[in-house]
Assembly symmetry: C2
């Protein structure tokens, strides 16, 4: 691990200084190699799949492990998209002349080395590698042990692409062991690693945050809210809430909790309740919600407990609460939410502006679906993760989140008086 770490640190200097053309060449070469390596990747992936099936892995976990031709085409296309994006590194902004004569501005630079710890999803190997290359960082990847053969085959392609472009093959390193101690070393080596990005379940991220001696860009849970205001277009609200809750149940940006203003509740709740129930969504309501929902034959409707307000279901379940004011809605979200993504549906401009300003979440939305909280949808090209931290990067983290700003001072011999 120490060898991997110091190799990453050395590579980082070369990655940071790499010309844009070389980084793009590496990304395009990687896309080509991915498309040309179908059989080899399939063979490596088959080993992982066989072992996983033998170990009893099933359902979505097994699906995520699969490196299908479609998945390979998607990550290859992702590399090309990132190659087409502007290079964030070296941009100087805000250069201003000061009374002393010096000019002061900020230059965007790579963070250095990031460590990525993720589950058994081989596509993340390519996503992380391609973002590292374009952002001028070196990275150390630690994927789930079930995907090791697939990841090794992919990492080989990355190294070859880097080499072809004249960049250090150690710019992207995959930890070639399933030993858990390697994670412990990675997260406690500030001399080698500048930031750790964990992607996985809440327990993994909490454990890493607790033990890390290196800064962590965390994504904890996504308990997202949609608030239906007193002044609202009911048609819009129905469409948006249905999308936010039911378009997909497993993503972190799906709405888990619906807040409805008391003035809208008598009309809105029976309608939304009926549509959600028809889609098989379980409704967990406050007492006023239950009274207003009306009869929903065959639907699962229960009383929400205190724990429901904090829950990230990632499932066809929604909690519903009637609130008496915008103030109450904002206070509820700031108290029970996870500071991920929250939306207001309203026709009132002042309410929209207050919600945007006062809800303390990484993404705040007006009149649209929380499902839009995503690096691609935001125009970042790709995302390395979604941060629920307040410092550095909030929400979807793309190329910019993997950089920081240093101060640049240009003088002509000025001295401090």
């Amino acid at each position: 691990m120490d060898g991997v770490g110091s190799a990453a640190r050395s590579a980082a200097a070369l990655m940071a200084a790499a010309p844009t053309a070389a980084k793009n060449q590496a990304l395009l070469s990687l896309a080509r190699r991915l498309r040309a390596s179908g059989p080899a990747l399939k063979a490596a992936n088959a080993k992982d799949l066989a072992a996983a099936k033998a170990a009893g892995l099933k359902g979505p976990l097994l699906d995520r492990l699969k490196l299908t031709p479609a998945a390979i085409a998607t990550v290859a296309e992702g590399c090309e998209q990132i190659a087409a994006m502007p290079d964030p590194v070296g941009e100087i902004s805000g250069l201003k002349r000061r009374p002393s004569g010096i000019s002061v501005g900020q230059m965007r630079v790579p963070l250095g080395v990031f460590g990525m710890i993720y589950e058994s999803r081989p596509n993340v190997t390519i996503e992380a590698a391609s973002l590292a290359i374009k952002s001028g960082n070196a990275c150390i990847l630690r994927g789930g042990s079930e995907a090791l053969h697939s990841n090794l085959a992919l990492a080989e392609l990355v190294a070859a692409a880097l080499k072809e472009a004249g960049l250090p093959p150690t710019g992207v390193q995959l930890i070639n062991t399933t030993d858990r101690a390697a994670v412990g070393m990675l997260i406690t080596a500030p001399q080698h690693v500048d930031v750790i990005i964990p992607r996985g379940g809440k327990s993994l991220i909490e454990r890493i945050s607790a033990e890390a001696k290196v800064p962590v860009i965390k994504h904890l849970d996504g308990n997202c809210h949609t608030y239906v205001d007193a002044e609202v277009d009911f048609g819009l609200a129905l469409t948006v809430v249905i999308n936010a809750k039911t378009q997909k149940y497993s993503p972190c940006n799906a709405t888990e909790s619906l807040l409805v203003h008391a003035e809208s509740a008598p009309d809105f709740l029976p309608h939304i309740g009926a549509v959600l129930a028809e889609k098989g969504v379980e409704l967990r309501g406050c007492a006023r919600t239950l009274a207003l929902l009306g009869p929903l034959p065959g639907a699962k409707v229960t009383a929400a407990t205190e724990a429901d307000w904090s829950e990230e279901y990632l499932a066809p379940i929604i909690s519903i609460k009637v609130v008496d004011s915008l103030n109450e809605a904002i206070a509820h979200i700031n108290h029970y939410g996870s500071h991920h993504t929250d939306a207001i549906l309203t026709t009132n401009h002042a309410h929209a502006m207050r919600f945007l300003r006062e809800v303390d979440s990484a993404s705040v939305m007006v009149n649209t679906s929380t499902r839009f909280a995503d690096g691609f949808e935001y125009g970042l090209g790709a995302e390395i993760g979604i941060s629920t931290d307040k410092l550095h990067a909030r929400g979807p983290v793309g190329l910019e989140g993997l950089t920081s700003l240093k101060w640049v001072v240009l003088g002509q011999g000025e001295v401090r008086a």
Copy 2:
């Protein structure tokens, strides 16, 4: 402490939503109150000074504790300057329409609650309070125990100013105890505190970083370098190096290490050596430096040890090394430096640009003195500290460093396909 923490969290919501006019009113009221409270502040400060003298405190430590009329005038003026600056909170940048129809941008918002831990310098109480007010944050201040009476008197003025402006007096709280356990509680309470900013010696900051469960904006040491290139204006280099090293010895942005290209060394070293020696600066040189310095009667000239290259002297001592190339200079700085502030003196544009890009420090400078690394000199109005971290804020941290960006999404009923 739990009461202080939850009061800060409640106040933070009000501070974040506060109108710019109210925040400015509080700052101007604070300036007025500071100017009108000379006798009361003097009396409180006298208690601290008497106790400190009785405890044997001397020299600079005692000087820093003094709340002189001049010091009061300076912090009052600082409040007025911060009132005159633009409000960073609420600014929306980069709002762009996406193919889906939504508009996506970023809004600048306060971090929430910051905890400030500092030594016995009462002026820091007002600097931190004024930056908190303008940036819309609540803060919890823990000053050095020797300054407790002075700090309590100052905190009373801050609370009155907040109240006068219709803001929560608990927006700025001073911990009214010298119990060290309070620090431990402050740095391990993520439910109450979003970020800790320690200001003090390296050992204090290392201890806080090691024990904190809350993110820390750290300022470790300032081992700053000035590199004199092969192509350089000797007159400019002499002026700048003398200023960078000798204008003041104690600040973190003073140059501690001088690197000289082998082509410049034979001419430059005897000159700079003579001037530094005349000013009483001890010279610790590499073997080539010692050979080139020539006779310096009465000067203290010694061989630099490996430890010298990493040392932050904060004293009239400088380490000097001859390097054979720009590459060697950059590698030396990135290896031994503290990523604080480093400067190149050169007439060569390509060398200047490579230095700016490749030296991994919070501030990188061309042809000027490292002593300029300062919030006021950079135009930030004030600084809460200087960060040597890579994430979030690097270098001088002003109002912007106390904020973060959240994503703002504006729709008209768009849903995710």
